[in-house]
């Protein structure tokens, strides 16, 4: 395989990973808070549509903002139904996805009736690293990307900081693993869970908008093509931690990019094999990580052999 091809694959990886990272970071909060948002796919596709629609009126930035907003809105609705009306979160999630897929296509078909040419919006302009981008190999990969790629990086650090250094971050983890105790400690379980889902929704919407306003420039039905579910997978694989999620997203995107482009090389396998590679390898990686996880646990157990009961010293005192 030529160098150009690899450069293309890596560049493609970053593009494909970006929406996954955005949505993933959000879902990370949701799952650390012990919730699960099966509505992601619906929120992403709505973000993708509204992004284009608003973008066509007010330019790419407005598009991204609108996409985020619609995700936030849907999440708020989900909170209402789940918390106030006590509906089952999973059912609601599936409902939201159904609704999102339906509504986006519905409005699209009303917006662009048959016979009219689809609307294209100006995509977010490439970042102006100018000369740097011309450096062979590293140039296009590091400096030739859309600003959204870098934004994803920034968001990643932010998310990490929030979960590590803020009380909200701790509260999310607490309600996620032990709501009863957390509530007894005085953490507002609902409030925390709700905020987490709002973050998740907003970022899912943004992730959707990133696909259309960020790269493609126009909307077509089902353009998110099941990325919402991939995000769920990535988040679980990344243990709901920002870094893990980012790595998971990159891995998956790389495999997808590789599977696409290596088709255009000599080796010829059934196309289904190529299309399965990302999922197959992701599964393999998951098995490996889980396994080493188990090992580590085992080792720490051994380690505690060393531990002596804490009050031993007191013992001598008496």
């Amino acid at each position: 395989m030529s160098v150009e091809l690899w450069v293309a694959i890596i560049a493609g990886t970053l593009v494909l990973a970006t929406p996954l990272v955005f949505a993933g970071i959000g879902e990370g909060f949701v799952e650390r808070a012990g919730r699960i948002n099966l509505g992601i796919e619906g929120m992403m596709i709505m973000g993708a549509f509204v992004g284009v629609w608003a973008g066509s009126l007010g330019g790419p930035l407005i598009g991204l903002v609108a996409g985020t907003a619609v995700g936030l809105l849907m999440a708020a609705g989900m909170n209402l139904v789940v918390y106030r009306l006590h509906a089952n979160e999973i059912v609601v999630g599936l409902g939201v996805t159904m609704l999102g897929l339906g509504l986006s296509t519905y409005f699209y078909q009303l917006w662009i009736p048959s016979g009219e040419t689809n609307v294209t919006v100006q995509t977010v302009p490439r970042s102006g690293f100018g000369p740097l981008a011309d450096i062979p190999i590293v140039g296009p990969i590091l400096f030739g990307q859309s600003p959204l790629v870098y934004l994803a990086g920034v968001l990643l650090v932010a998310a990490w900081a929030v979960s590590r250094f803020t009380r909200f971050g701790l509260a999310v983890q607490a309600v996620g693993t032990d709501p009863a105790s957390a509530a007894l400690r005085g953490v507002r379980v609902q409030k925390t869970g709700a905020s987490a889902l709002l973050i998740g929704g907003a970022l899912a919407g943004l992730g959707g908008a990133v696909i259309t306003v960020g790269t493609i420039g126009s909307f077509t039905p089902d353009i998110t093509a099941g990325r919402g579910y991939i995000v769920l997978a990535i988040v679980i694989m990344g243990r709901s931690r920002p870094v893990g999620i980012a790595l998971g997203a990159l891995l998956f995107a790389f495999l997808q990019s590789f599977a696409l482009l290596s088709q255009s090389t000599a080796l010829t396998l059934p196309s289904e094999v190529y299309q399965s590679i990302p999922y197959l390898v992701t599964l393999a990686v998951l098995v490996i990580t889980s396994r080493s996880q188990l090992r580590r646990l085992y080792r720490t157990t051994r380690a505690t052999r060393a531990i002596r009961p804490a009050v031993e010293t007191k013992g001598e005192a008496t």
Partner: protein
């Protein structure tokens, strides 16, 4: 310490509080006045309403009626955070530590500041630990600490959070003498700083030791309040649980053949000291007490004996059943062979969402034995055709409402429910593994359970009782085994088991004579 001086002389008063859960009246017209700088003991039989009252004071439960004031100013906390802000803090019995988080993080979990600084929090907790003269790891996830260490940990966190009124719901139920000593000294010094302490307990000696004021509840009503100092122990006991039948005289027991044997057991766990090379033989008709500081390996030993944990090396044999190859596999075999199990944490053995009936009959239900028939169970576990109601009242579980969810019981009554299932079995269990069986029980209930254990031994069961509370052990045991750092460091017949010797062994100061020999000697 973070008790800010201006709050020092606050009076917390609750007037005619009532609270009911559905049909159950947990509290009716209860009043309490908590003075600054004093320890206020809150006592009463299981289900009397202590915890409920405590929860009301701490904002966890909202009273159905009644008012509360702090220094005359109305005090109506919406939730616990609210109460904390007003300076009222509580350590509930079923603890409120988040297992995933370390003590430091648990401390940081609530508060006003959005950003958290682990370093300063750590320093503060460390200081508090030293004052309390206890030592708990601040950075391990609390889930990996032993019950006692979590108990201490949460108290320390509460102390660090600072409060002018601190409510402790049976803080000592799972603590040993050493911890209790350190804790009480700390409580005293708190009081000297002007903090008010409400102490819920079932232990008479503790009331005598630290209490200034005393409030006694019974069936959700005030039956006494006033100064504790002037009261005789017997008087307090009477107030708490009415007249107690004199404890049955110690009957002679003649141990038979070995029923349960652990040989050269090596095992590891994240929650407890790892066992290295533990030998223990328990014979029919004897009660073996296992003493030791929390985290000395008692938990793990009982897990191994119960067939929950497969030892890395060594064997556990019970009724010809070897601990199975697959971990856990033998737990079921042991259960079927008549092994009764009362874990340190009752929550491991009681299913909160199941009704009392389902909890009692869970074993038979799970092996498909005929299920309840119009209230009567054809179920060995609850004794012939005895009805669930009978069993409940036999063990004084209150309220006797078979269809109530077990979580509706007070902690103590949950403990009784557990005892009823495990000890009430017929035919009687061949082996009993009990860790702090009288935890959280009032005097009467504790005595009843002890007598039940003795009866079982007399009837030929082999009984193992582990506890941090020496009294609980000395009360019943024929033989006291002391564990330290995952090893058995002493094994004394009750005659030689004086508090002093055991105390030294518990602290790991082994006197030459003790270990090994007796354990072997016992085995025929």
């Amino acid at each position: 310490m973070t008790v800010s001086p201006p709050e020092m002389d606050r009076v917390l008063e609750a007037r005619s509080i009532s609270k009911s859960f559905g049909p159950v009246h947990a509290l009716t017209d209860v009043s309490i006045l908590v003075r600054p700088g004093a320890v206020h003991a809150l006592v009463g039989e299981n289900g009397a309403g202590k915890s409920t009252l405590a929860k009301v004071l701490a904002g966890i439960e909202q009273p159905s009626s009644g008012t509360m004031t702090i220094d005359g100013a109305a005090f109506a906390p919406r939730d616990r955070a609210d109460a904390k802000r007003a300076g009222v803090n509580m350590v509930p019995q079923q603890l409120s530590l988040v297992g995933e988080l370390s003590l430091v993080e648990n401390y940081l979990l609530v508060g006003s500041r959005r950003l958290v600084s682990r370093r300063s929090a750590r320093a503060l907790l460390k200081a508090t630990l030293e004052r309390a003269r206890v030592d708990v790891d601040l950075d391990l996830p609390t889930a990996t600490l032993s019950q006692a260490h979590r108990q201490l940990g949460e108290i320390v966190v509460a102390l660090a959070e600072g409060a002018h009124t601190l409510i402790l719901d049976e803080p000592t139920a799972s603590l040993g003498p050493l911890e209790v000593g350190g804790l009480f000294e700390h409580l005293r010094s708190l009081c000297d700083l002007g903090t008010a302490v409400v102490l819920i307990t079932h232990r008479l000696d503790e009331v005598r030791q630290v209490a200034d004021d005393l409030t006694v509840l019974s069936h959700g009503e005030n039956v006494h309040h006033g100064s504790a100092a002037r009261l005789e122990s017997t008087e307090i006991a009477r107030l708490m649980v009415g007249e107690l039948p004199p404890p049955a005289a110690r009957s002679e027991r003649r141990p038979g053949a070995t029923v349960l044997r652990a040989a050269g057991v090596v095992a590891a766990s994240t929650r407890d000291a790892s066992l290295d090379g533990v030998d223990l033989a328990v014979r029919a008709g004897e009660i073996v007490g296992i003493a030791g500081v929390a985290g000395s390996g008692q938990n793990l030993l009982l897990d191994v004996l119960g067939g929950f944990v497969k030892p890395d090396s060594g064997t556990v044999a019970f009724a010809g059943t070897e601990a199975g190859s697959r971990a856990g596999a033998s737990a079921a075999a042991f259960q079927r062979a008549g092994l009764a199990w009362i874990p340190e944490e009752r929550t491991e053995a009681v299913v909160p969402a199941m009704s009392l009936r389902e909890n009692l009959t869970v074993y038979s239900a799970a092996v498909g034995a005929a299920r309840k028939r119009g209230g009567a169970t054809r179920d060995a576990r609850t004794g012939g055709t005895q009805t669930v109601e009978d069993t409940l009242s036999a063990y004084d579980v209150r309220p006797v409402r078979p269809e109530l969810a077990a979580s509706g019981l007070s902690g103590g009554n949950q403990q009784k429910l557990l005892a009823a299932r495990e000890l009430g079995a017929s035919p009687a269990p061949r082996v009993v593994l009990a860790y702090g069986p009288t935890q959280g029980l009032d005097l009467r209930a504790s005595q009843a359970i002890r007598e039940r254990l003795v009866d079982l031994a007399v009837g030929g069961s082999a009984v193992v009782v582990a506890s941090h509370d020496l009294e609980e052990i000395l009360g019943v045991a024929d033989r006291v085994v002391v564990m330290f750092a995952g090893r058995i460091v002493a094994d004394l017949p009750i005659a030689e088991a004086d508090t002093e010797r055991i105390g030294r062994a518990i602290a790991g100061l082994v006197d030459g004579s003790a270990p090994d020999s007796p354990a072997r000697g016992d085995v025929e």
